[in-house]
């Protein structure tokens, strides 16, 4: 079967999405790489290597780093999707205002926010997650609004309304199932962004508080100690995780292609 085609007799939309994702090889490798990066720390602690070794510490920091990025990114994705949905649902002047606000905020170097908060309000995990999420929200809101705008006002919704469904029923039965996948693809980049922003805060020494190791704080420690070998492992793992997240995002986007009317 042609990878792009969707035959409604042979498969459900969810099955088609899964097939398209599986056909995107880099995305499948990305999922595997992320799983390995998250689990290596546990395997290593069973093998019990020397606990001061920079490579061992970097492997250990994997699940903490990815968990922080996942929590911050998910929070940002939810808020951003809500922002975009509110804008599209409101329409008119309110939509313009909400979009302009998101565009203005997205044009600022928001990666400085967690650094500022860490320096002025003290370093804490909760504050770090909140500020990392805040730094990723405007871009997510813009992406969500663009996707929803393109997909939510379609003829099927109008037909369903004409057939007598209430707006809530149209939303629940038609709009949400249609936009959920594309929305996921649109907000997916917040995960990589949250990871990069958190790592930046760690690298300048104002990220996660001291007992918590993330790849960013390890990079920051290595820079402060002028130890190039200590930097190598966390930097490589961070680059690998960012590349994997990006590849998975490409796969998610390929799983929900823009359908042509």
């Amino acid at each position: 079967m042609d990878a792009g085609r969707f035959d409604p007799v042979m498969e459900t939309p969810a099955q088609a999405a899964r097939r398209r994702f599986a056909a995107h090889r880099p995305a499948v490798h990305g999922v595997g790489a992320l799983a390995v990066l998250a689990l290596l720390g546990f395997v290593e602690s069973m093998l019990a290597g020397p606990s001061g070794d920079p490579v061992v510490r970097a492997l250990d920091a994997g699940h903490t780093t990815l968990a922080l990025a996942l929590v911050g990114g998910t929070l940002a994705a939810l808020v951003g999707a809500g922002w975009g949905a509110l804008a599209v649902a409101a329409g008119g002047r309110l939509e313009r205002r909400l979009t302009q606000a998101a565009r203005g905020l997205a044009a600022l170097p928001l990666a400085l926010l967690p650094v500022l908060a860490g320096g002025l309000l003290g370093r804490g995990v909760d504050l770090l997650i909140l500020t990392v999420a805040a730094a990723a929200v405007p871009a997510a809101a813009l992406a969500a609004r663009a996707t929803l705008r393109a997909r939510a006002r379609r003829e099927y919704a109008m037909a369903a309304r004409a057939a007598g469904l209430t707006p809530a029923m149209v939303l629940w039965r038609h709009t949400i199932p249609t936009v959920a996948g594309p929305l996921l693809a649109a907000v997916w980049p917040v995960l990589a962004r949250a990871l990069a922003v958190e790592s930046f805060a760690g690298a300048v020494g104002l990220g996660a508080p001291t007992p918590v190791d993330t790849w960013g704080t390890l990079i920051g420690e290595a820079l402060a100690a002028q130890a190039p070998m200590g930097l190598l492992a966390p930097a490589l793992l961070l680059a690998a995780a960012l590349a994997a997240l990006n590849a998975v995002g490409d796969g998610v986007a390929a799983a929900f292609p823009e359908e042509r009317p």
Binding site: A106, L112, G119, F200, L223
Partner: protein, 236 residues
Amino acid sequence: MLSFAVRCLIGALPGLGLLAALAVLAAGDGAARALAALPVTLGLVAGALALGLLAGVPLGLAAGRFRRGPLGAPGAALAALGPAVPAFLAVAVAFAVGRGGSPELLLAALAVAPAADGARIARGALAAALEGGFVLAARGRGVPAGRVLRRHALPAALAPVAGALGGMAAALTAGAVLGEALFGLPGAGALFLEAARAGAAGPAVAAAAALGGMVLALHVAGRIVGGWLDPRERAA
């Protein structure tokens, strides 16, 4: 076109005014210090943007034009590298490998991210433009292929790169903050980090506002260039 440029500039005024007010309220005369240090950071960011785009965009255009084959391979590889290496990571690695080193090394490290971004955006935009209806229409009118590429597809491919200038500058600012502190350059980024580490709210907020204003100005400049290259960008 002129009215679009004016609209862009006027649209940025409230943001710039807010940032200036924030800086003055937060730090008083510290705002002047942040502003005085800004040219160092602007030089780094603008230099890295120019260097990176000059290297990355032609490679990306080649990759968009020759999608299969050896001519497109460097651009495709560069574009794939981009998301994995944020600017601050390139700076950290350059500092560790170069053991200190010169401002030139910092500039080269900062240029990696815009080179990759420029290659990725230019590749996608040229490939999309070549499949676009206006290219087909021009060919149908009998315009020669080379002229279609130069006059019709190329501006449409470069406009999104210009439009992304603000985003690239924002990403570079993080790298410049870390780089100035590591390489000992007296810029607004180093000032920001020093104040943030010391917990000095006023100077830190003032420096952050100065950096934000710089990125906003580059964003507006990029949008105007994008609108000049491609009339469709003026509609948004």
